[in-house]
């Protein structure tokens, strides 16, 4: 059984850590927290999409489109409307990609979404009049460049992503999503409008990633296409969600913290070139050693502990594994 407190724990921790860091005001920790939060949002968004069986390699498309939309629209329609434009444009892009890839299964879907992300990068370079081409573009700086406020805003977005992820793990969506993933025909035969649900998941996921991308672009007020459309932003969410534990809210959070911490260590040991070797190593080790991710490992530990307690406890423990 999931008690109210464990359910609320991620929210409380995010709030406390954000407030503490804003209070302490140490630039290194604030930058690290911002990095963790942005990757965690993209990983949660990726996970939400994957619950409907859509294993995407196209997150970078939405990340880039988010930052570019904010940058392009802000001079035209003002800041507030530009943020709304980010949501609208990402939702439209998600609907388009979702419809285009609707019939694709497994690896075909992965390749097509990867192709979409890289095509977006080419579009940016091919239309330099609107996008600044390969020279980059200047989105409005987030929170006047004050890192503490930037962290606070991104922390809020993370809270929203966590809440969305939790809501989509509730009884209304989780069983329907999983049924779509396992056998779409069975979901349809249960009255689920499969196409609409898949597109809905795509929109939620795409908008979240787009907002994260817009925040990222606003950190320094300057982005180049290779910065936001890089395949890194497509792989990272998948890696983090898998390492942390898929189909959960806590998994992507834990995965983001673990991977970002590791990245920092590697950066200081190996230096700026090739430090991402730890990504490769960690991914391979996890896939071999604990394919269910960190959350899977914790559950295994929990089950072992549960065996020592009463049988009733054990049953509850199993229920939590759902």
């Amino acid at each position: 059984m999931k008690t109210g407190l464990t359910r609320l724990l991620p929210y409380i921790l995010i709030l406390l850590v954000t407030l503490a860091l804003v209070w302490i005001d140490k630039p290194f920790w604030i930058q690290l927290a911002i990095g963790v939060a942005i990757t965690a949002i993209t990983a949660l968004a990726w996970d939400i999409l994957s619950r409907t069986g859509q294993v995407s390699l196209g997150s970078a498309a939405f990340f880039g489109v988010g930052s570019y939309t904010l940058a392009i629209f802000e001079p035209l329609i003002g800041l507030t409307l530009a943020w709304i434009a980010v949501v609208v444009v990402c939702a439209l892009a998600a609907t388009l990609l979702g419809l285009l890839t609707l019939r694709l299964r497994r690896m075909y879907f992965a390749i097509a979404t990867l192709g979409f992300a890289l095509s977006m990068q080419v579009l940016v370079v091919v239309f330099p009049d609107w996008t600044g081409g390969s020279g980059g573009i200047a989105p409005p700086v987030l929170a006047d460049g004050d890192p503490r406020w930037q962290l606070a805003l991104i922390g809020l977005l993370l809270l929203a992503a966590v809440a969305l992820s939790d809501a989509l793990l509730g009884l209304r969506f989780r069983p329907a999503f999983f049924m779509i993933r396992t056998k779409p025909e069975l979901a349809a035969a249960s009255g689920v409008p499969v196409v609409r649900m898949k597109i809905f998941a795509f929109i939620v996921s795409g908008v979240l990633i787009g907002l994260a991308g817009a925040c990222y672009g606003g950190l320094y007020g300057y982005v180049v296409p290779t910065d936001v459309f890089t395949t890194n932003w497509s792989v990272l969410p998948l890696a983090i969600a898998t390492l942390g534990g898929m189909d959960t809210t806590v998994g992507p959070l834990l995965g983001a913290i673990a991977l970002k911490a590791l990245e920092e260590v590697a950066r200081s040991v190996i230096g700026g070139t090739g430090y991402q070797v730890v990504y490769g190593a960690v991914i391979i080790l996890f896939v071999i050693g604990m394919p269910q991710g960190i959350v899977g490992l914790l559950r295994k530990a929990g089950t072992l502990a549960g065996r020592r307690t009463a049988a009733g406890e054990k049953k509850k423990e199993r229920e939590r594994h759902a």
């Binding site: 192709g115 979409f116 080419v122 091919v126 896939v287």
Partner: protein, 293 residues
């Protein structure tokens, strides 16, 4: 003028098509048999390119011999990788399968960056064949070598699949794994074999890359992206389709670079427009048949 440009462009496209076909056919074989897309396939090409480069620059090994050695080395590495961990993800969920080879790709790229810096190098080998003059059109000698070796690799693979017992078993394992198991085929062995062949062709293709392109840790990424487009065109798992896909992609790229203003900067963007369009119109590839995805 216009026609000379067109002819030159198409002939160069044909030579790169040989390279593309060799890379893509390895990728598509691995996928067809195991159902796994090897995102690290390009890194085997990259390592093959570095090997050929160093064998020539440091030890004076002729490029053709270097290529062969690179191919053998990549076969060995594929064996190691397959038995070391790829064989363990065969039964796992697809996201783990995708992640496994992506992880390998990231690992190899960054190891190469640490070992050899991200800088691009060019192999200073003299042309292995004289340039071919067809009227005003010139095809450099090394491009001819790439075309010939690429076609030889591709043809060798087709021959192997059609005329050997192992090739027959590979095709059986690819078409219907369950039937293959019932027929007593050791499917894991077939999976390994597909990766060994993939490694061999990737290593040799790496040598070709060193010959006409440049050597750099990220060169494999560029190439494997194109291989995806080729495979999408030809149908995932179809070796025959890989050649058609390679010719089409290579022609499209060269024509874009030659005739579209600023088209040279599109790079593999052409490939991606193709991927998205083809998969949307025909999810099994333009020339692919309905098979497991």
């Amino acid at each position: 003028m216009e026609t000379t440009l067109l002819a030159q462009s198409l002939l160069l496209a044909l030579t790169t098509a040989g390279l593309y076909a060799a890379i893509a056919s390895g990728l598509t074989l691995e996928f067809g048999v195991t159902g796994i897309i090897n995102f690290a396939h390009g890194e085997f090409v990259m390592l093959g390119a570095f090997l050929t480069y160093f064998l020539y620059e440091a030890a004076g090994v002729p490029p053709l011999a270097g290529m062969l050695l690179a191919g053998l080395a990549m076969t060995a590495l594929s064996w190691l990788v397959f038995d070391g961990f790829l064989s363990r993800v065969l039964k796992q969920d697809e996201h783990n399968q995708i992640l496994a080879t992506i992880g390998l790709s990231i690992l190899l790229i960054n190891l190469a960056m640490i070992a050899w810096t991200p800088d691009a190098r060019v192999m200073h080998a003299p042309p292995l064949l004289p340039a071919l003059h067809l009227g005003d059109v010139i095809v450099p000698g090394n491009n001819l070598v790439v075309l010939l070796v690429g076609i030889a690799l591709y043809a060798g693979m087709i021959w192997f699949m059609r005329h050997t017992r192992q090739g027959l078993l590979l095709r059986l394992a690819a078409d219907d794994p369950q039937l293959a198991v019932l027929a007593g085929v050791d499917v894991t062995r077939m999976f390994r074999l597909s990766f060994l062949i993939g490694g061999l062709t990737a290593g040799v293709s790496g040598g070709l890359v060193a010959l006409i392109l440049y050597v750099q840790p990220l060169v494999g990424v560029d190439l494997v992206m194109r291989a995806f487009a080729i495979v999408a065109l030809g149908g995932l798992g179809s070796i025959g389709g890989a050649l058609i896909g390679a010719v089409l992609l290579s022609a499209a790229e060269n024509l874009t670079a030659t005739f579209v203003p600023g088209g040279g900067s599109w790079g593999y963007g052409v490939a991606f427009v193709i991927i998205v369009l083809v998969l949307v119109v025909r999810p099994t590839g333009l020339f692919g048949s309905e098979r497991r995805a």
